[in-house]
């Protein structure tokens, strides 16, 4: 029994690695008062470009850099529009996500025509070690380690540094922060770029860190789930991590159902939906709130 629980938690963590990484980046943006619904598109972009550059350069590390660069470009456009031009934050994110989906689809289409079948597997990060749990063997790569480090690190940055203090202030009452000499838009933009880079890195964890291929729309809503985790986690690093872990575990649970062909009502369709249903239930029944007061409200002040 104990073994089974450890198995679930561990495989949940591993399954949830990209989500964990991304939501740790996202929570920083949300705390600075910007609504980031563009994580999905940024992650997808990161997934594609890391895959693409890993194949074309033959190096996973260059692939990773390429992926992050791709994510940064997307985040740059998205952030400038929202933070400097005060566009509607929901509409802008929808546009960004659609663009990312379209661009990666098209580029992938072109790219697969130039490569022969069999050559479309990219280099990838090897597992650092494997955990043998009897029924299954779980490979652990450094993305997983990174995810684990990011949880306390994010908490530390938000709560224990002057940078975190500025981020919190800008999210709560930007005008007051501005009177203390803080450049509101600059802080928000840097947070946004950071979470963009991190989302792209999480995307790389899906491709070069895991399956080594790119599939259209392979992020499958993870960006939105990350957002849900942040809301569920009441905009704290720890709460968000907990949300991501629950999602990861329910994904692991789904895989077990599929692998071991456990019979459940509704069969395959239900099993696919399990993680999403659990997330939804969590969101519905959890105590929500605690959003930064200036959350999703564009800053109208003068600074630059």
């Amino acid at each position: 029994m104990l073994n089974a629980i450890i198995l679930f938690i561990l495989s949940g963590l591993v399954m949830g690695t990209p989500l964990l990484i991304m939501s740790m980046g996202g929570v920083i943006t949300e705390r600075s008062g910007t609504l980031n619904l563009g994580l999905e598109g940024t992650m997808l972009t990161g997934a594609f470009f890391s895959y693409y550059f890993a194949i074309t350069t033959g190096s996973v590390w260059l692939g990773l850099l390429g992926g992050i660069a791709g994510g940064l470009v997307i985040a740059l456009f998205h952030g400038i529009a929202m933070i400097y031009w005060n566009t509607n934050q929901v509409v802008t994110a929808v546009a960004i996500n659609m663009a990312a989906l379209g661009i990666t689809n098209t580029l992938m289409g072109k790219f697969s025509m130039t490569t022969s079948a069999g050559n479309n597997i990219s280099p990838g990060f090897e597992p650092l070690f494997k955990i043998n749990l009897g029924e299954a063997i779980i490979g652990v790569n450094w993305f997983f380690i990174l995810a684990l480090i990011m949880i306390p690190l994010t908490w530390f940055v938000i709560q224990k540094t002057t940078i975190g203090l500025a981020i919190r202030a800008v999210g709560e009452y930007p005008t007051a922060a501005a009177t203390m000499g803080i450049r509101v838009r600059r802080v928000r933009m840097l947070c946004f770029l950071y979470s963009g880079a991190i989302a792209a890195l999480a995307g790389a964890a899906l491709t070069i860190g895991d399956v080594r291929v790119f599939v259209n729309n392979m992020t499958a809503g993870k960006g939105f789930i990350a957002f849900a985790c942040i809301v569920f986690g009441r905009y704290t690093a720890m709460g968000t991590a907990f949300g991501a872990l629950v999602f990861g575990i329910s994904e692991a649970f789904r895989n077990y159902i599929q692998i071991f062909a456990w019979s459940i009502p509704g069969g395959y369709m239900t099993s696919i939906m399990i993680p999403y249903i659990i997330t939804l239930l969590l969101l519905i029944f959890s105590k929500q709130g605690n959003a930064p007061k200036a959350w999703a409200i564009p800053y109208e002040g003068d600074d630059n």
């Binding site: 009452y173 203390m180 000499g181």
Partner: protein, 507 residues
């Protein structure tokens, strides 16, 4: 004496407004200069130029003899300028220490050494007898304490030119006395102070010199010893302001508002209003005096449906309510001038016209069957702006571009204009210039004579004495007594405010 600050021919022009027009004045070491002017005269704009928030369109600023260009707040801070803004600039969810260190580092690394800050803040607070706990969250602090945090923010940054933009507007008289002691102490230490206020007696008590602005222009600069409140008012408004009101006796017998055994608890479950009962007749003003934080806010919020009623009932006319919602309030003909104009009263991003129409928007004549009559909203706005002397280029001006006092006028205009049966007015003249203050007090009296029942909650005893028929003193959620304004004894009122029960209680 050394001149620490000098302004020469400063102008600040916003796209549609000339806020400052060729202003020149100076401030010497150890001196207090008061800036006077009507709402919208350009006082805050001028101060914001000195603090690097706005950039003057024209003119020069000299600090300690050097010509300077203040492009950002840090420039001003580095030169020793500190500012307390007209509205609190404190992040409510953060602690005192966090608010003070915001924007600064505590060492070479980004690590936030809160212990160190807390210690320094405590020392500074003790030095000036501020009695602050660096660990308290701002949201748990009273208004007076928050003001002390604002001042400490300046001191922590070693400011020696202090700008106070209506720092006393939100303070109780007791808190003002404390603040003035501190300010005098600062001056003795060699700091210099620029202060904006609408209260002439404060100017007479504290200032060495007075600079008067009219419509952005310098109207003059006088030494305190050469002037008097009457002359200052005249310089500012161009006429005598008398503040002499005639309180007509109550002629009706019917009760418009009855509060029976009202109990209200706050978020923490503390009873802020304890079993309170009172009534207001048609054509009567009941003034509620008391030290801030004794349940005034909760009383007003419970009566206007913004806070849940725990026990008791509220009778409006004949109708009995045990719970109220803001929408019902409007339907019952109740008006509310809230304590915090930004949090409750206005949508700052909307235009003046829209804010003036805000509450009536789903009713005739603002809209018919759900279709908004924009033409009416525009003409209504125009009339209100004229009647209430709201200073803006026109009704399409975003409310956030209005000066603080003019924002307050928008609320007062909207709430009084609809001919309400009941008016709940909390600090209705806060931030208004003396002319506007007189106007609003007159309006309240007019409304009462028309037949409205008015509950006037104010920490300014003077205001209450000027217009109320009866005066209640609130202390820790209870009335210490209700006295007829004809036989008040100020001393007794003062004692009641500290929690002594009055013997002249009518019931």
């Amino acid at each position: 004496m050394e001149t620490v600050l000098k302004v020469e021919n400063l102008s600040k022009i916003f796209p549609k407004v000339v806020a400052n027009d060729n202003v020149s004045f100076d401030l010497k070491k150890g001196e207090i200069v008061a800036i006077l002017g009507e709402n919208g005269a350009g006082k805050s704009t001028l101060m914001n130029c000195l603090y690097g928030i706005y950039h003057p369109t024209k003119g020069d600023i000299y600090i300690k003899g050097e010509k300077v260009k203040l492009t950002k707040i840090e420039d001003a801070e580095a030169l020793g300028i500190g500012m307390v803004h007209q509205h609190f600039m404190l992040v409510e969810d953060l602690t005192v220490a966090e608010n003070i260190i915001l924007g600064r580092k505590t060492g070479i690394t980004p690590y936030l050494d809160l212990k160190k800050v807390e210690k320094a803040v405590k020392e500074l607070s003790d030095r000036y007898n501020f009695g602050l706990n660096p660990k308290s969250k701002i949201k748990d602090l009273s208004v007076g304490t928050r003001q002390r945090v604002e001042i400490l923010k300046m001191l922590y940054r070693n400011a020696d030119i202090l700008i106070l933009d209506e720092a006393t507007a939100v303070l109780t008289p007791q808190e003002t006395v404390e603040l003035f002691k501190t300010l005098k102490h600062f001056v003795d230490e060699g700091k210099s102070i620029l202060m904006i206020t609408h209260k002439l007696e404060e100017v007479m008590e504290l200032a060495d010199r007075v600079v008067v602005l009219i419509d952005g222009k310098m109207a003059g600069s006088v030494n305190r010893v050469d002037t008097n409140p009457r002359q200052l008012a005249n310089m500012m408004v161009g006429r005598d302001v008398l503040m002499d009101f005639d309180i007509k006796p109550v002629v009706h017998d019917n009760l418009i508002l009855q509060v029976k055994n009202l109990t209200v608890k706050n978020n923490h479950g503390l009873e802020k209003i304890k079993n309170l009962s009172f009534e207001i007749k048609q054509g009567e003003i009941l003034g509620v005096a008391g030290v801030d934080g004794n349940g005034q806010a909760e009383l007003a919020e419970a009566l206007t449906g913004l806070m849940k009623i725990d026990k008791g009932e509220i009778v409006i006319g004949e109708k009995v309510f045990t719970h109220l919602k803001p929408k019902m309030i409007y339907e019952q003909g109740m008006s509310h001038i809230p304590q915090d104009r930004h949090e409750r009263g206005l949508v700052l991003d909307m235009t003046v016209n829209e804010n003036l129409a805000l509450e009536g928007i789903s009713h005739v004549p603002f809209s018919y069957n759900g279709i908004i009559d924009f033409k009416y909203i525009k003409s209504h706005g125009k009339a209100m702006i004229k009647d209430y002397n709201i200073k803006c280029y026109d009704g399409s001006c975003p409310t956030k571009e209005l000066s603080g006092g003019n924002q307050q006028k928008v609320i007062v205009a909207r709430e009084i204009d609809r001919k309400p049966n009941i008016i709940i007015a909390v600090q209705p003249t806060r931030g208004l210039d003396i002319g506007a203050t007189e106007f609003v007090r007159n309006k309240l009296l007019e409304e009462k004579e028309r037949g409205a029942a008015v509950l006037l909650i104010s920490t300014e005893l003077e205001e209450i004495l000027m217009v109320s028929n009866r005066i209640a003193v609130i202390h820790e959620g209870e009335f210490m007594g209700v006295i007829d304004n004809k036989n008040v004894d100020i001393l007794e009122l003062g004692l009641m405010m500290t929690g002594m029960r009055g013997d002249k209680d009518e019931k």
